[in-house]
């Protein structure tokens, strides 16, 4: 069994990190959580390891988000002095802006649409997405169509807003 899991690990780890990254928005944490999910899989030896991993990862990401929110509250109280202004290279700022814009756009999707889209992007099949989200398999195409449309619209709206601000 561990051998099978080793295969799943090799094939799924990057996708799981990507999936988690779009939830916790921190590469290090996403990697941590992905590895922890696999560590748990080693203990539990689930039948369908791939599906199980994504369920566990989604749960951990949710807990992580709650914890991060708590920590942020606490740390905000601690930080009475503003951070020093760091100068970042142009492209880094650009990448940052892009990421923020995508994140904002994703936030505007319904949780179910977002989940389906992120699972699809992590390489899951319609059957797997249906099993994970509880949606009927026949509804996945429609869900993804809606999610994609909303994502693109929200992203474009964010871009226009940004340009308006820049111009104004």
């Amino acid at each position: 069994m561990p051998e099978d899991l080793a295969d799943v690990y090799r094939n799924t780890y990057p996708a799981l990190v990507r999936f988690l990254y779009r939830k916790v928005w921190d590469q290090g944490r996403a990697e941590d959580l992905a590895q922890e999910a696999f560590a748990r899989a080693l203990v539990h030896r689930p039948e369908n390891a791939r599906g199980w991993l994504f369920v566990v990862a989604a749960n951990m990401a949710r807990d992580e988000a709650r914890r991060a929110a708590r920590e942020k509250r606490h740390l905000t109280l601690l930080k009475s002095e503003p951070d020093a202004v760091h100068s970042a290279p142009e492209d880094e700022i650009d990448a940052d802006t892009q990421r923020t814009r995508v994140r904002t756009a994703l936030d505007q999707l319904t949780p179910r649409d977002r989940e389906a889209l992120l699972l699809w992007d992590a390489g899951m099949s319609y059957d797997e997405i249906a099993a994970q989200t509880g949606l009927a398999r026949g509804a996945i195409g429609t869900t993804l169509a809606r999610a994609r449309r909303r994502l693109v619209e929200a992203y474009d709206a964010g871009q226009e807003g940004g340009q308006d601000v820049a111009r104004g």
Binding site: L5, A39, L75, L78, L106, L117, I140, A145, L151
Partner: protein, 342 residues
């Protein structure tokens, strides 16, 4: 065939349409200009959505070897995991002096002196304790001053952080920032009358949370202070090894520990407040420390006790805190399991 809906088009584009449906769709699209245009639109949308998502990808880093996963759940260093945590950690480390010190001497001293440059007042649990005898002597303290001291901490802390090197062995922290004049008793408020409320606030004081690495890194002893005396908990000179019998006699009751974990050692603190630490091994490289001392508090009110238990716990007559190089959540879970040794 009527026009193809967008869900079916997306399923087709995603290669998820069953083969029969696929053939039907292709036949229809070949002769329906509307659906052909719709398919082109949906294809463009699908590509666009992928491109948008692609702008928020993590860096492609090599997959760590599976063997690494098998050994331990991966944990990256605290400073990588929580970039902001170090600041809180410093504050917490400074709070250690408060945590384990004797209530008697220290409180009196505090009232007589201006706060030192590095005063660990902020990040804390709000522990309620009975006013110790020494405090009673200086007790009629102007309330104004109490307030001022309580209001200052956020500022003091950040200055402190700037001046202090992050202790190497501070691992993680969830600071609870509860200035003593903040609504320390929100549940009770409104139910208790004002004077009782004030009395409770005066009786409560802030207490630092112990959050340290458990291993014993060689480092300067000045990074930590307990009872004003600089110490390093795992330093054999200042925290000598003792046996269990002595630990029991220092505490006045059985020491507490996490059941099921091997006890590596008992150590006695340098102060005279009866503090000991029980060191337990989580695995071959991870040691957690269970700090404990006689609580010497009279927490009769269960609500107060519940709040005071937030980061440390009272187990029997002991005040217990936990430290170790694992996540704060894990520490809290371990702390929950602590029981007297039998």
């Amino acid at each position: 065939m009527s026009h193809v809906d967008e869900g079916t088009l997306h399923a087709y584009l995603d290669g998820e349409l069953p083969s029969g449906d696929r053939a039907t769709l292709e036949a229809h699209v070949a002769q329906c200009a509307t659906c052909r245009a719709a398919l082109a639109d949906e294809r463009a949308l699908r590509d666009r959505a992928s491109a948008v998502l692609g702008r928020a990808r993590p860096l492609e880093r090599p997959t760590p070897p599976f063997e690494q996963i098998r050994r331990t759940p991966a944990r990256r260093p605290w400073h990588v995991r929580m970039p902001l945590a170090w600041a809180a950690s410093i504050v917490l480390a400074l709070g250690v002096g408060y945590l384990l010190r004797s209530p008697t001497r220290e409180v009196a001293a505090l009232h007589q002196q201006e706060p030192p440059a590095v005063e660990p007042t902020v990040v804390a649990t709000n522990q309620t304790r009975a006013a110790p005898p020494a405090e009673q002597k200086t007790a009629p303290l102007p309330q104004e001053r109490t307030r001022r001291r309580a209001a200052a901490p956020a500022d003091e802390q950040s200055r402190t952080s700037d001046k202090t090197t992050p202790p190497a062995d501070v691992v993680a922290a969830v600071p609870a920032v509860e200035p003593r004049n903040a609504p320390a008793a929100p549940v009770a408020a409104g139910r208790v009358n004002d004077s009782l409320q004030r009395e409770r606030l005066q009786a409560s004081r802030l207490e630092g949370v112990v959050v340290r690495g458990a291993a014993a890194p060689a480092r300067s002893e000045r990074d930590m202070a307990i009872d004003g005396a600089p110490v390093q908990p795992s330093n054999p000179k200042t925290w000598p090894l003792i046996d269990r019998r002595l630990a029991t006699s220092v505490l006045g009751e059985e020491p507490v520990a996490v059941p099921g974990l091997a006890v590596r050692s008992f150590r006695r603190g340098p102060g005279n407040d009866g503090t000991i630490v029980v060191e337990q091994t989580l695995d071959s490289v991870t040691v957690i420390q269970i700090f404990q001392r006689p609580a010497r508090t009279s927490l009769n009110n269960s609500a107060e006790r519940g709040r005071a238990d937030h980061f440390g716990r009272f187990v029997g007559g002991l005040r217990v805190e936990i430290a170790g190089p694992v996540s704060t959540d894990s520490l809290n879970r371990l702390l929950d399991q602590v029981k007297p040794l039998h």
